[in-house]
């Protein structure tokens, strides 16, 4: 039998890397409540004011508190991009920051893209080109693609692939996503 490694018995699996790092010592609930911070931010054009624990991730705030479940959670470790939203117009992975860091800032989620029932051209292109299957990566993928086109209105295939590299999709093999971004670019340029 293998000798017991010192410290093995107390080794625990680490759960969510970011989540965990900031959870650790805050186990006194009263202390946690008293540490709550007030934040004020704009989401999809509407103003929100809430009290949140400093450790609360922005994605959890958006989904659980503010009620925007369009952005998804695929990893909580800033790899998959499913949680991508626009913060002051720039695409960010909302599991990578705390809600308190969004204080005073402006967030756009997938729910805020269509205006007056009119789909955003990138949404329309994703639909036309069959750029989604299960749809789980889609909200993040669309937010990233939108940003990509804002920065580079006529991307090459290679630039598109590079631009969406931070967003994982397990269903589509990406080809139809590339087509959708190209189609949205062509439409905007037309």
């Amino acid at each position: 039998m293998r000798p017991e490694t010192p410290g093995m018995a107390s080794r625990r699996p680490s759960r969510h890397l970011i989540f965990n790092a900031f959870c650790h010592n805050i186990i006194d609930r009263q202390k946690a409540d008293s540490m709550k911070r007030k934040i004020n931010l704009t989401i999809n054009g509407k103003s929100f004011t809430d009290e949140v624990e400093p450790r609360m991730l922005l994605i959890h705030y958006l989904r659980e508190v503010a009620g925007f479940t369009g952005p998804h959670i695929g990893c909580e470790t800033s790899i998959c991009g499913a949680c991508t939203v626009a913060l002051d117009g720039k695409a960010v992975k909302s599991c990578t920051m705390f809600a308190v860091q969004a204080d005073g800032r402006e967030v756009t989620t997938i729910e805020g893209l269509a205006t007056n029932g009119q789909l955003h051209p990138v949404q329309e292109a994703f639909w036309n080109e069959h750029a989604l299957q299960c749809g789980f990566c889609t909200p993040g993928m669309i937010m990233t693609s939108k940003q990509l086109l804002e920065r580079n209105p006529h991307p090459t295939e290679e630039e598109i692939r590079h631009g969406i590299e931070g967003n994982l999709c397990r269903c589509t093999g990406y080809q139809h996503i590339v087509n959708a971004v190209k189609a949205a670019a062509a439409k905007a340029g037309a």
Binding site: M8, R63, T69, Q175
Partner: protein, 777 residues
Amino acid sequence: MATTITKTETLVGKRIRRQEDPRLITGTATYVDDIKMPGMHHACILRSPHGAAKIRSIDIKPAQDLPGVAAVFTGKDVEGVGPVPCGASLPGLRVPPHAILAKDRVYFIGHPVAVVVATDRYIAADALDLIEVDYEPLPTVTDPEKALAAGAPAVHPEWPDNTAFLYHQEGGDPETAFKEAEVVVKQRITSQRLIPTAMETRGVVAEYRSAEKSLTLYSSTQIPHLLRTLVSQMLGLAENHLRVITPEVGGGFGSKLNVYAEEALMGFVAMKIGKPVKWIESRRENFQCTIHGRGHVDYYEVAAKRDGTVLGLRLKLIQDLGAYHQLLTPAIPTLSVLMMPGLYKFRNVTADIVGVFTNCVPTDAYRGAGRPEATHGIERMMDLLAAELKMDPAELRLKNFIGKDEFPYATATGLSYDSGNYAEPLKKALDLVDYHKLRQEQKQAKASGRLLGVGISTYGEICAFGPSPATPAGGWESATVKIEPSGKVTVMTGASPHGQGEETTFAQIAADELGVPIDDVIVVHGDTAVVQYGIGTFGSRGTAVGGPAVYYALQELKKKIRKFGEMLLETTDVTVSGGQCVDNRTGKSVSLAQIAGASYRAMKLPPNTEPGMVATYFWEPPNFAFPFGAHIVVSEVDRETGHVEIKRYVAVDDCGNIINPLLVDGQVHGGVVQGLGQALYEQAVYDDDGQLITGELMDYAIPKASMVPWIESSHTITPSPVNPLGVKGVGEAGTIGCSPAVVNSVVDALSHLGVKHIDMPMTPEKLWNLVHQGGQA
């Protein structure tokens, strides 16, 4: 009578964008984690940090005392809950009891040990850290070949040989074939453990209403009805008091074709605390505790004549099962054996499977489930044989294909291939890459020192599962079609699509059969309280088995439409088309809405006819369907970095008739990229202590957009005679065809260095070493 505008254009066969997309592109779809209920609690699960250990004691008190914690349960609390079921049966199969929470021993990293339920997820996570478990770590074994060696640690102490089952299958006279062979090639080929990695992890919401004794489970699953049957047994609940709802499901690929401990556990918790409870799997848990795929070590031998005619095939298959059986774990390698002859006339075959326990999470169905392993094996062996005989690999394949006039073809493994023309997709793919010119270019490239390779794979797959006698839980699928009093059409399918697009393809079928606009049709699925019993979506069966069920339900319905039409039009000769029933003599018509309305008002009924406009059909397929195709890869290995660049990827797939080419392309692309992941990037790695080294997306490389090539996809069409739609299924084709094409191309690129075989994943490090050590890794 009124004439309405008729819809003449048919939809089947057209590239139509999907009906399900508006909710998905606007962020308004509901996945499990989007569900919120009054009083809902959150569960987090404490899992074993050891690959194997005895549990000496568990102290849950500090966790229970944390404000906000409603309950903590451990193994002894759930003793009354039945074991996680294994649905596969094989002679002599050893089935270790698989409790939903471990009690005195853990068998793999991530094995659930306790569950904490709290008012919010952060508190539940905090409380997990307060549970003290005293473990006594035990030796582990994570490699299946090491597990078979004498003196290896026993995963289950009662079975020291770590062998769960032995399985033998034989056809023809393999012994004579090998005796008479002029050439025999042998190779050990692995198909490494993979992590399915659906982008949505698993998740469950459970709600119990004690006065009704009714439990509702929202689960991210591919099989709502089977889940209901099995979880109700585990919980001792009447089956009709359990309702399973699959909201939007964010990908499955087989990993959600299962019944998991957590599904019963959340039911148990909800029943105990009297509040709704939600558990969402973290990505780390998903990697540790949701099934893995593949996990083969295969020893192949092919017997042939010098002219390239294949004679016999011998396989010893070592299947890494993990610590337990999940729903289909031991059955998966038997599919590999069924398909091991591929598209070739192997009349003499023999296979032995050893199912091996290891201290790892169980393997089970992952996209392709057994067939990618088989195809990888036989397609590598055909290349090895071609190299041995100095024959062109395309020529060798064409020489040994089952001929197009030989269908239905009885294989040496007992299957009956439905239809095929195997040379056609290969010839088409060869034309598309301009094969002869390509070989010239390759010669020149190699002469100038470039490592350019061409790889061919021709695959056949078994899908459309399947005739019921060949499946553990029934192989049919069901459909109900109703025309509402207003004339709108509702299709309810027992299949449970989760991204494949059947809300669109089934609507196309219904719209065509009834002649109504597609927007008049909705397709409902995934709620056991609403939809008749069904089997589910897996094994490329959604369209190939669920589709015919819809078709036949529509035929039943049309009979009834005709009867009401004849009554209303006072005639005996009508046709249903264009959304109406037309009197063939006078041209007078009644609309479907009028007919449906009359059927529900029932002022008058045709003879021997019930009111209402509903038909249900359970369709049992007479056979599997066997899609096939050819994939060709042109790749180049970078001498300096060992990196593989895929220069061309040509896929010619034959999945029978095509209902929506846009969706079929999507399935091919997604499938190919998962195959590419296996060929080049992915591998689940456990260390000797049982620790999962590739435990996060950070360490497990699923392909990103920049890591995959453009896929040139095209088709040949050989309808299946098995079903009235002539479809074969396409969900897994890309994955099955891909990996051998990629590996064959890279081996070809390095063949002049003496490289004959490379195991997957072909990482840059592995290839760099091969290049720089003269073909020796």
